[in-house]
């Protein structure tokens, strides 16, 4: 404890002593100061490293091969998500010219595109009968889309656990579907 116990305590001899001041130091001011400094350092430090999200793009050379493969990839498992301006998002299954389902408008978030993704992923697994062959998502963003939209969709991929997805340039047909042509 900070109070030093001086004075008193078996003063048996009757000598007259000057009453000693209690030597306890008032630490309140020091604590005030310390907390002020703590607050300062807490607010100025960048303790938490920024979060990040990994994005792996296919190699440019390999991308040409993908175009070839696309015809071979099962259209029952392929879903295309179109990102447009004004936070619009549309999806369809299969090929542009002859979609199996859609194109349908959708919203971002829990009640929107995530439900579709989860459901279609289940269907794709049921279709292929292999657990690791789920939905293949092709993401096409128009020129009016914002970076936020892109991150939102990539985030949905992470949440719904879709492993195969690709970010592909938009085609005129897709722009037409979005009505941005």
């Amino acid at each position: 404890m900070a109070e030093l116990n001086t004075g008193g305590g078996g003063n048996k001899d009757k000598k007259v002593r000057s009453k000693k001041q209690n030597a306890g130091v008032d630490l309140t001011a020091m604590v005030d100061l310390a907390f002020l400094l703590i607050t300062f350092f807490m607010l100025t430090t960048s303790m938490n490293k920024p979060q990040s999200m990994n994005l792996a793009m296919p190699d440019k050379q390999a991308e040409l091969d993908i175009e070839d493969q696309k015809t071979k990839v099962d259209e029952n498992r392929t879903m295309t998500i179109l990102i447009g301006g004004d936070n619009k998002v549309k999806w369809y299954m299969g090929m542009v010219n002859n979609p199996i389902e859609g194109p349908t408008d959708q919203t971002y978030g829990k009640a929107g595109i995530r439900q579709v993704l989860l459901e279609k992923d289940k269907q794709a697994i049921a279709y292929s009968r292999e657990a690791d062959k789920g939905l293949i998502v092709i993401i096409r963003a128009s020129e009016k889309a914002t970076y936020r939209n892109l991150v939102d969709i990539l985030d949905e991929m992470a949440i719904s656990g879709i492993k195969s997805y690709a970010l592909v340039d938009i085609t005129p047909e897709d722009l037409e579907i979005l009505g941005e042509k």
Binding site: N54, D59, A141, T146
Partner: protein
């Protein structure tokens, strides 16, 4: 009834323990803190639920921000030594000689968005002019004819390879409202150099959005 008078206790609280704790915390914060460098181009990053942390070294950051439609690109490398080495390499490519003072200034700059031919002038400005910026720097040119971003990334990668013998990580820090083509352009420039893995800097949110 005769009420027994309570003996009044001393009102002063013993502050010793509190003082100990607060100074312990203070010491902790002082030792762990890294001084925040002024951000050259403040951006409002979009949020995601993914919680990968950014690497703390060996990282180049491409910042995309500014007015939507007229996005600016800024470039920065982590680590003072790496920054200086990158600047030297950049200087030798564009035949610009940087003196020690300019290198030091560059080492303490988080990122730059100035074309290389104006960089010397920029680095010689007083600190307050340099730091308030964001709006004052035009951004690193990314046109196909004058693709300085490509050179910056290339130099930074060479430096990482030579000095640390590591493959440089590249992070893209985009403003949420930035238009997609601006981001795509940067991705394309990076992919030309076969950088196919990026870190997208994002904020944090939970899954119920």
């Amino acid at each position: 009834m005769a009420k027994g008078k309570m003996k009044k206790k001393s009102m002063s609280v013993d502050m010793t323990a509190m003082c100990d704790v607060s100074f312990l915390l203070l010491t902790f914060f002082v030792l762990t803190s890294t001084a925040k460098l002024p951000e050259p181009l403040p951006v409002d990053t979009p949020n995601s639920t993914v919680q990968t942390k950014l690497p703390e070294s060996n990282l180049a950051t491409v910042t995309i921000g500014g007015e939507p439609g007229k996005e600016k690109v800024f470039f920065g490398v982590l680590g003072k030594e790496d920054r200086i080495a990158t600047l030297e390499k950049m200087g030798s490519r564009y035949q610009i000689e940087f003196n020690d003072e300019e290198k030091q200034v560059f080492a303490y700059t988080e990122g730059i968005g100035t074309p290389i031919n104006e960089l010397k002038k920029f680095l010689n400005q007083p600190a307050d002019v340099r730091n308030k910026i964001g709006a004052d720097q035009p951004g690193v040119p990314t046109d196909s004819l004058n693709n300085q971003l490509k050179d910056w990334v290339e130099m930074a990668r060479t430096v990482a390879k030579e000095r640390n013998n590591k493959v440089l990580d590249v992070a893209i820090k985009g403003d949420a409202e930035a238009n997609y083509p601006a981001v795509k352009k940067v991705i394309d420039i990076l992919q030309e150099q076969r950088v196919n893995k990026f870190f997208l800097v994002t904020g944090l949110r939970n899954e119920d959005f």
